[in-house]
């Protein structure tokens, strides 16, 4: 993350920091009063959400102490390593608690409002007070953007984790017989997923000493050149490991599409349905077929 970019976007200059420091010295003694009023506002405005985020006294006290520290840092207005780290931490905490950005940002707005009021009460004779408060808001709003940015990054990471977990679950390679593995592929196959499938397929072939691997693609939405390319590569890699791959479940329209695309499937073994694939697999694996054998 480029922190300088935030400064540029919010047109925050060194003079703004200087101004925040000037008024910050006057405001710091009121920190406890400030935190109390901020949390009173949040309790009122967030209602039930507030209860969810702070279910007991301990969690509330923890949050308040974090707020206290964060705001004291803010009043010192040092754009240093510690400051940035602590803002990242705030963003992470908000992501973990799944606090809605609108709740965070409105509370931020209220906080800046409270500080402005306190400034007029505590330092009525301060020179250039409106200007100092203007800087205060500028830096405060930039900080809001910074925290929300980190928040959305973390949320993105959580989604990526979940989708990885889903991918794991969507490659259920099953040993259906001695030496025969099967994987039904369902949905849309993109490069990352194809890579994933290939890796798990080869691992399982090695582990289970598979003679035949059946890849059933009847549930795949689209077989385009990229997917076909992946299928060919999987077949080749499996063959190098001494395993024979059968791609089953090619529907008439998929077969036609592959031909139209001009894909050379080479010696990749394909079948229209799973039954044919099983028959070939049993033959290869030397399984005697007594049921349904012709």
């Amino acid at each position: 993350m480029n922190y300088e970019e935030f400064k540029r976007l919010y047109e925050v200059s060194e003079a703004d920091y200087e101004n925040v420091r000037k008024i910050g010295v006057k405001l710091a003694p009121a920190i406890n009063d400030f935190v109390e009023r901020l949390y009173a506002y949040m309790r009122e405005a967030l209602g039930y959400e507030f209860e969810i985020h702070f279910p007991d006294e301990a969690s509330l006290a923890r949050a308040q102490s974090l707020s206290r520290r964060a705001w004291l840092e803010f009043l010192e207005a040092k754009w240093d390593e510690t400051y940035i780290k602590s803002r990242i931490r705030i963003g992470e905490v908000h992501a973990q608690l799944q606090i809605q950005p609108r709740h965070y940002l409105s509370s931020m707005n209220k906080a800046l409002d409270l500080w402005s009021q306190l400034a007029y009460t505590l330092a009525p004779n301060q020179k250039d007070l409106p200007k100092l408060i203007e800087s205060f808001w500028r830096v405060g709003q930039m900080e809001g953007a910074l925290v929300v940015d980190i928040y959305s990054q973390r949320t993105g990471e959580i989604i990526a984790q979940q989708s990885r977990a889903l991918t794991d679950m969507s490659t259920p390679i099953t040993a259906i017989w001695d030496g025969i593995l099967m994987l039904p592929v369902v949905g849309i196959v993109d490069s990352r997923r194809a890579q994933d499938i290939m890796q798990r397929m080869l691992e399982q072939i090695a582990e289970k000493r598979a003679i035949v691997f059946i890849l059933d693609i009847s549930g795949v939405a689209v077989v385009d050149t990229a997917v076909a390319n992946h299928l060919i590569r999987m077949t080749k890699a499996a063959r190098l490991m001494g395993s024979y791959t059968i791609v089953s479940g090619l529907s008439p329209s998929v077969a036609q599409t592959i031909v139209e695309l001009g894909i050379e499937v080479g010696d990749m073994k394909t079948t229209g349905n799973l039954q044919d694939a099983l028959r070939i697999a049993f033959d290869r694996a030397g399984v005697e077929q007594t049921i349904g054998a012709k």
Binding site: I188, V222, G262
Partner: protein, 133 residues
């Protein structure tokens, strides 16, 4: 009556899946046959994948096309990526700069009924296709 365009952003590989789902939905709505739907969805997959592969980001627009008693769908896929320096070459079989099969563009042309491509190096690429059921 002209139909409204449905437009989707193409930002990441995940958008390929969304575009495919969307086009299948539209195909269903206009009663396209399953064979034509498979061909169209594959064509869309090719074109959108190309955007994520070469241009990083772009747009896909789709709308039901109008022809008497024949349902169809018109699709435009465009990007402002590096463009294709030699379209004639790119439309040949087995020519790829992306380390893949090199069948995408010529294959896509065979899958659909109308196919126009415009590309300027440094300006981007725009492909328009129509599939009739």
């Amino acid at each position: 009556m002209t139909q409204r365009w449905r437009r989707l952003r193409i930002l990441s590989q995940g958008d390929v899946a969304l575009a495919i789902l969307e086009i299948r939905e539209m195909a269903k709505r206009v009663n396209m046959s399953s064979g034509a739907t498979a061909a169209l969805a594959t064509a869309v997959s090719e074109l959108v994948t190309n955007v994520t592969k070469y241009a990083d980001r772009g747009l896909i627009s789709m709308r039901p096309a109008v022809q008497i008693r024949r349902p169809g769908i018109e699709v435009i896929v465009e990007d402002r990526g590096p463009g294709i320096p030699d379209i004639e070459l790119a439309m040949k079989e087995n020519v790829s700069t992306g380390g893949t099969l090199g069948l995408g563009l010529p294959g896509t042309r065979r899958l659909v009924d109308e196919f126009d491509i415009e590309s300027q190096p440094g300006q981007g690429t725009r492909v328009r296709i129509i599939k009739w059921s």
